[in-house]
């Protein structure tokens, strides 16, 4: 890899690290991070495919309250870099991508610990900001806010930079040592991993009331002509219909016994 490529990769990693905590622009989502790393290293298509595959696995990963989810930022950045190194070493695209997916999961755990460390380091930083607030020192407040964000960026940028210097021979050696059954087995396992993300989402939202909608979505998705957009439209319509009917039932419940629709309307006007 050229020095210029490495600089660009580290920059993408820095963005992903910042977004891993800010959660605004979504540079840390695999779909965006892997694509960008693919783009700057000249393996755009492989990056896009890796990003899409990892995205499917990471759909349900979200920071809720103080709980921190497996870290998508390090997983996508580091696995994309390893994929690029393998591709430079002459590996075929399929093997490089499936290996990158296999290493992504342990990386997401490592990233989780890194963000917890940075979130602890941020405690003394906000104490410094307390002091700055007591002096109305705006420069210090801004600078320390920016330092805190940059720490989150560096959290990913440093491992990314280190990975760039792994010789492709070493990665290829590890790849060639990996027996086919291990690789195929990992791919099969990876196909199931998406279920964990979905299960996390389901556990957050599921009530007795909404389970039937899960069943509907599941059955309708078997019709392969329905695109995801079509499924989304059906879902929105179902939600609107259900909420509308529910409201109607609630407002009508009190008056339903009167048996006099016109009277009910007149009553409502009072």
């Amino acid at each position: 890899m050229s020095v210029f490529t490495i600089i660009l990769i580290v920059f993408v990693a820095f963005l992903a690290g910042m977004e891993g905590v800010l959660d605004q622009w979504q540079f840390h989502q695999p779909l965006v991070a892997c694509t960008l790393i693919g783009l700057v290293s000249g393996y755009l298509e492989a990056g896009i495919i890796l990003g899409g595959t990892l995205q499917m696995m990471a759909l349900g990963w979200a920071n809720v309250g103080a709980a921190v989810a497996p870290d998508a930022a390090l997983a996508s950045v580091a696995s994309a870099i390893l994929m690029v190194i393998a591709l430079i070493g002459g590996s075929d695209q399929g093997t490089a991508i499936s290996t990158a997916i296999a290493v992504a999961v342990p990386l997401s755990v490592a990233g989780l610990f890194l963000t917890m460390i940075v979130r602890t380091i941020a405690i003394p930083i906000v104490h410094i900001m307390d002091g700055a607030a007591a002096r109305a020192d705006y420069t210090a407040l801004d600078v320390w806010s920016i330092i805190a964000i940059c720490l989150q960026g560096i959290r990913i940028a440093i491992p990314a930079a280190a990975l760039c210097f792994i010789p492709s021979g070493a990665v290829m050696g590890a790849l060639n040592m990996m027996p086919a059954w291990l690789n195929e087995g990992m791919t099969i396992g990876g196909g199931m991993v998406a279920a964990v993300g979905y299960a996390m989402v389901i556990n957050m939202m599921a009530t007795k009331e909404v389970w039937p909608f899960f069943a509907l979505g599941f059955c309708l998705a078997a019709i392969s002509q329905l695109t995801l957009i079509a499924l989304g439209v059906i879902g929105i319509s179902l939600a609107l219909i259900y909420l509308g009917l529910k409201e109607l039932a609630q407002s009508g419940a009190g008056a339903a016994g009167s048996g006099d629709p016109l009277g009910d309307i007149l009553d409502d006007y009072e």
């Binding site: 800010l22 622009w25 499917m56 920071n63 900001m129 607030a133 059954w181 279920a195 389901i202 069943a215």
Partner: protein
């Protein structure tokens, strides 16, 4: 009394811009407090010419705060309105401002998480990813553009909404609207997740349940095809045409004499994706039993490898 101090649109835009960095100094002690104070700085500078008042305001906004980073926008809008009143001499206590922040952050986080993290992101993410897995650049672009347009618009308009309504927004919040949005998002979310489970959780059971030798006519007679193909160029074309037309009427089982039924095809006859939904529900149950998601993921890779070695998967 002096002229009323108001926050101009550019002040509010500055707050909106800084508010994106709400989680920048996220810490385990007071969580989003640093980012919140950072966001309020343009407003504090404008509203309080006096340094003592500025210090009091900065300290007031370094208190504990934590909510979903997007739905924090209406909260900051309301806070701007309150600070503006206070700067103009209205008797707004510190406790009232902190009370509004704390009072709003809980219920709003309850809306933001299901709407953004559990409905919109899986939906747009899956849409983008399904395109990306085919190698299309449109996947990432679609995801990135749609997400950020929705996000930036949401953050700006709800901040303005909060600023215009001031404290009266709390009435809307306690009313049915928030509950309805959450419920609607849950319905849509569950529906879409149901679909995603069917489409994208893949398990294939390879054990062969039965191998049946099919009767004549139920499979393509490749010998006859080969014979036709043997008679020159026109013959090859005829052979291809004949094979394809037989294939389209017989389907995939017509390709060989033996009809192989795997466990997977049996399961798919019940309902496609049955195994996928079973795995997902098992995950739900394991997560409820406080099994760590990481442990489940590692377990799945182990099952994938062992199952493959045992030739089940």
């Amino acid at each position: 009394m002096a002229d009323k101090i108001t926050l101009s649109k550019s002040d509010r835009l500055a707050v909106w811009f800084r508010h994106q960095y709400l989680q920048g100094s996220w810490n385990y002690e007071r969580m989003q407090n640093g980012g919140w104070c950072f966001s309020m700085i343009p407003a504090i500078k404008k509203l309080y010419p006096n340094k003592e008042d500025q210090i009091a305001a900065l300290k007031r906004h370094m208190e504990f705060y934590n909510t979903h980073p997007y739905v924090s926008s209406p909260v900051i809008g309301v806070t701007l309105a309150l600070e503006e009143d206070r700067a103009n001499g209205a008797p707004v206590e510190d406790a009232a401002i902190q009370g509004v922040k704390v009072g709003m952050m809980g219920p709003l986080a309850g809306v933001g998480d299901p709407v953004f993290w559990f409905t919109l992101r899986p939906l747009l993410g899956a849409l983008g990813a399904s395109l990306a897995m085919g190698g299309s650049i449109m996947g990432p672009i679609l995801f990135f553009v749609l997400w950020n347009v929705i996000r930036l618009a949401f953050e700006w308009y709800t901040q303005e909404f909060g600023y215009q309504l001031g404290t009266s927004i709390t009435k809307d919040l306690s009313g049915g609207l928030m509950g309805k949005i959450t419920e609607g998002a849950s319905i849509l979310g569950m529906f879409v997740i149901g679909g995603l489970v069917e489409r994208w959780v893949s398990i294939k059971f390879t054990p062969i349940v039965s191998t049946v030798t099919q009767s004549e006519g139920a499979y393509i007679d490749w010998d006859a095809i080969a014979e036709t193909a043997g008679s020159g160029a026109q013959g090859v074309a005829d052979a291809i045409q004949s094979a394809l037309s037989q294939y389209s009427s017989l389907g995939a089982t017509g390709l060989s004499i033996d009809k192989v039924t795997t466990l997977q095809s049996n399961l798919d006859q019940l309902i496609p994706g049955l195994a996928a939904v079973a795995v997902t529900l098992l995950c739900c149950w394991l997560l409820k039993k406080k099994v760590s998601p990481i442990a489940i993921i590692i377990g799945m890779f182990a099952i994938g490898i062992l199952g493959h070695l045992a030739q089940i998967l």
